[in-house]
């Protein structure tokens, strides 16, 4: 799960206040979408990401920054195998 620190000290330098899956989150990781996703562990492999209502292209995950106040939804692909070509 996401790293969640409730020490009341979320500063812009090393901590971002985000809204992830509709819930407030204090995020301490690297500020790109892929890093946030990877903090989700294995689920990251099969999620699309939406920031502030916009669905991102998966190829851009490393290049898209996350910033204070972003509302982020993970949209999980479900119900299929890994068998596509």
């Amino acid at each position: 799960m996401l790293s969640l620190k409730n020490d009341g000290a979320c500063h812009g330098i090393d901590c971002l206040q985000l809204v992830v899956q509709g819930r407030p989150l204090e995020y301490h990781g690297a500020r790109d979408v892929r890093s946030l996703l990877e903090s989700q562990g294995e689920k990251a492999a099969y999620a699309n990401v939406r920031i502030n209502g916009n669905v991102l292209n998966r190829r851009d995950f490393e290049n898209i920054p996350i910033k204070e106040g972003d509302q982020i939804d993970f949209l999980y692909f479900m119900g299929g195998g890994s068998c596509l070509i």
Binding site: Q21, G22, K43, A45, Y46, N48, R50, G53, V55, R58, D73, L75, Y76, F77, M78, G79, G80, G81, S82, C83, L84, I85
Partner: protein
């Protein structure tokens, strides 16, 4: 006038007593036809509840046979059904539950060659498939035919539900434009699935069908509902129509049905 026998009125009395449903709603259910694609993890609860609710004609399409590994979640089948075609096993259970319904059985795979005439015969399509090629095929066909579609997916401890009115509300591609890259999304056979999660999601799909048919409430249109059983949380995401959607957007690039190819379909049969 209602075309319901005394036995049917008694059988459906807990529906009929709901003022939002009533005799009128129950008659709508009897007059409705629903195609359920897949008789597996999701298809099982969908078929059970639609049968019990008195949907007049239910089609079920599935080419697989019952395997012992299915029985942990595919509750329409029993141990004695192992090796039977799932459509036959499902149909027998459905008729035992409710002899008043008609069941159309299609022991075949849904393809781009048979899907359009098939869905034409039904008011609503329910997606209970175990693979992305068929999932996208169903979505695209329902957009092209302006059909109602109730989407559902499960994996591990998670589920997803979305109701669609093809061409009118957001479709699956509005949110998931293309299938995930090969190798990124495991199947239930590879990653596992908690059996009861199929029950939660399939039962919600059946609920959506009953709402759409009777006109009760607000269907899950332009919204995506994700279910996390580990935390027991539902997360709803607004999902309006996407003008850039390749099948229902302003300038669609998909105008004919396409079928994405499988590379390992024989390794994970009937795993939904």
């Amino acid at each position: 006038m209602f075309n319901l026998s005394d036995e049917e009125i008694l059988r459906y009395s807990r529906h009929i007593i709901l003022t939002e449903v009533g005799g009128t709603g129950q008659q709508k259910l009897k007059d409705a036809s629903v195609l359920v694609v897949g008789a597996g993890g999701l298809g099982s609860p969908v078929l059970l509840y639609l049968s019990a609710a008195g949907i007049g004609r239910i089609g079920v399409i599935e080419d697989d046979v019952v395997d012992v590994t299915n029985l942990q979640r595919q509750v329409i089948h029993a141990t004695a059904d192992i090796e039977k075609p799932k459509v036959h096993s499902a149909s027998e259970t459905m008729k035992q539950i409710n002899p008043h319904i008609e069941v159309d059985v299609y022991h075949e795979r849904l393809t781009k060659d048979n899907i359009l005439p098939l869905i034409d015969k039904y008011d609503i399509v329910v997606d209970g498939v175990d693979n992305f090629p068929t999932r996208y095929l169903i979505n695209d066909a329902c957009v092209m035919k302006q059909k109602y579609l109730v989407e559902g997916g499960i994996l591990r401890f998670m589920g997803l539900i979305m109701s669609i009115h093809g061409g009118e509300t957001a479709c699956y591609r509005c949110v998931f434009e293309e299938p995930p890259p090969p190798g990124t999304v495991p199947s239930c056979a590879e990653a596992g699935v908690l059996g009861a999660v199929a029950g939660v999601v399939g039962t919600l799909q059946a609920t959506e069908v009953l709402k759409i048919v009777t006109g009760v409430g607000t269907p899950l249109f332009n919204r995506l509902l994700q279910f996390d059983a580990e935390e027991l949380r539902f997360h709803e995401v607004n999902a309006p129509r996407n003008p850039k959607c390749p099948v229902c957007g302003d300038n669609p690039t998909i105008t004919e049905l396409i079928e994405y190819a499988y590379t390992c379909e024989t390794q994970a049969p009937g795993t939904s």
